[in-house]
Amino acid sequence: MRFAVLYALVFGISTAILAASLRYSTIGLLDRQTHEAIRADARGLAAHFTAGGLPALVLTLDSRINEDLNENAIYLLVDPLGNRIAGNMSRWPQGIDAPHVWYQVPVERAGKRSHALMRYYELPGGFQLLVGRDVSTRSQLRRVLRDGLIWALTAMLLLGALGALVVRGLFKRSLSDISATTRAIARGDLTQRVRRSGSGDEFDELAETINDMLDRITRLMDGVREVSNAIAHDLRTPITRARARLEDAASHARTEDELRGAIERATSELDGVVKVFQALLRIAEIEAGARRSAFASINLTPVLDDLSEFFEAVAEERHITLDTAWPRELPMVGDRDMIQQAIANLLENAIKFSPPDHHVSMSARMDAIHIEIHIADQGPGIPEGDRSRATERFYRGEQARSTPGTGLGLALVSAIAQLHGGTLRLDDNRPGLRAVLVLPRRALNPEATMRIKLWAQAIRKTEIKPNPHEETSSSDQRS
């Protein structure tokens, strides 16, 4: 409704401006021309009077009256007593009593009533000269123009109102679709989409944007639903086991040792539940992007050195050879703790699924834009069809079902990669799995440096002291 009123207002104002300018440039122009002609006429006559006195003026007047073919010039010369001396007007018109002022008065000339524009000038010796022009043609023009404009304005007013109604209808129709869809969504029906007219206009664009948003929301909702189903399953199982153990022990345990054993096993089941929870929360935390503030310039080489040394012990214990190869410098911008965790997850997976007496290889390379970290094992791998799903939460391969784990490791790695603007790719190692962590060397957001100091401090907890600013403010309170 507001748009329609606005439209009508804009339309009306522009029409009024148009009419006014039309009037100014026609009637106004004629008026100005008449004024100018009268002024020039009067100047000329005054010059004759000055040069030749009264007789010269009367002569000029007569000749001008005779020469006036259009018969619209009006002259009247009177003596100081008001007696007519010359001119084509019979008497001094009523109401004209001040010199040098424009008057428009009705006149009657040759039996015809008309209007005249006139002005009188005082000449030396008390003579008064009235100069004017018959403007009846101009008045006719003005009438015609006025009638035309009234018609035009009426038509425009109608058109404007019609236009406003059309605009209103158009808005209403385009928006009613959107509002109906959003209302349906708000009620919980996420399948609704805004209908597109296909015209490619702004409303179509808006509809498309809204539909894209709805698609994204639907995908997220599906994700949440899948995750909550998976949580329900993956958490229900250990909780059920723990509960069964405790209930069983409460009613059947005969010795204290049996009771303690059952409680301990139940506790460790619950620890497993806590682990799943923590992993889920951590993924959520990373996906929310909250930790991008901890990005700093880091060299990945020592990170890889330390991790390979850390896990090499486990590999050796399982008779797995860990092959390593990377350049001396792998500079990048990122969160060291998170990248450490991502690589550790991949490496632990590789060691976990690698058969004894086989190789796990860990390597890294770098180009101008990316760092690629490859971790490959010779284990069972992941079937090609499952690879895209392997980074989803709670995915567990056929082979993995018998091994301990939460099914959240790769999902976490993937979330970390995405936070850095990188990807986690899973390839076939023929045989085995080759996980490739691709990280861009430059962080996507350069504003990270602000909180880096804070993080560095936080990791080295012992260095932290209450800051002096806080001390001052509290001592103020005490005083």
């Binding site: 923590q278 896990f311 012990a313 486990v314 997850n345 976990k352 401090q457």
Partner: protein, 227 residues
């Protein structure tokens, strides 16, 4: 040790108080922030265990900030259900010495509180560590046991140094992970146990009396067994 626990959950507080008393500590308990602050400020404690979210108008963070503003340097460990990295950072920035997320294992809490309060005592810089007949020279980075030289890799040296600095105390796997490797993730494999067993091969295996002990359900402890 004299320990103050400020925790509003009665079950958690009761469990911790009981455990700490069993471990031989004197424990005081406050169940809201106001009382907690009053006790922490007016009495001497060796360590304070502090919940983040507390009733009584003063939460854990404010309690600690007020305490630190009064130049009270008692070691403080947060015990909180707020476990995100940002929460940890906030806690440590407010002056906390350690941060333990709920739910927790009591053994972890005990080990961390004991380690923290010892760190708080400030022994000054040492150049030599000694546990029984095991000695470590921090300057020459040499390790000897019963006069015999023991060759250690740099990381094994740091692991042993951490254990020796906490000799007589339980050290959990998480503490080793953070203290020796500076890792803040939870490994899925028994990698810490493997590193411990490698260290054992070098410092215990060739000798009669073992120094590095496994504490069931908790972690490890380096100490001389009393005969």
């Amino acid at each position: 040790m004299r320990i103050l626990i400020v925790e509003d959950d009665r079950d958690v507080a009761g469990f911790v108080v009981k455990g700490l008393r069993e471990a031989g500590h004197t424990v005081e308990h406050a169940d809201n922030g106001r009382d907690g602050l009053f006790m922490a400020a007016s009495e001497n404690f060796d360590a304070i265990i502090l919940d983040r979210m507390l009733p009584g108008g003063i939460d854990g963070l404010r309690l600690l900030e007020t305490l630190r503003a009064q130049d009270n340097t008692t070691p403080v460990m947060f015990l909180s259900a707020l476990g995100q990295v940002d929460d940890r950072v906030k806690g440590l920035k407010a002056g906390g010495d350690d941060y333990l997320t709920k739910p927790f294992a009591f053994a972890e809490l005990l080990a961390r509180v004991e380690a923290m309060s010892r760190r708080g005592k400030g022994e000054g810089p040492t150049t030599r560590l000694l546990v029984g007949d095991l000695e470590m020279d921090l300057l020459s980075r040499g390790v000897r046991r019963a006069g015999q030289k023991v060759d250690l890799q740099p990381r094994e040296f740091r692991l042993l140094e951490y254990l020796m600095r906490h000799a007589g105390q339980v050290v959990t796997r998480t503490m080793l992970l953070e203290g020796v490797w500076d890792y803040h993730f939870d490994p899925q494999t028994n990698v810490i146990d493997v590193h411990i067993s490698r260290l054992r091969q070098k410092i215990d295996k060739p000798f009669d009396v073992p120094l590095l002990h496994t504490v069931r359900n908790a972690g490890y402890m380096l100490r001389v067994e009393e005969p």
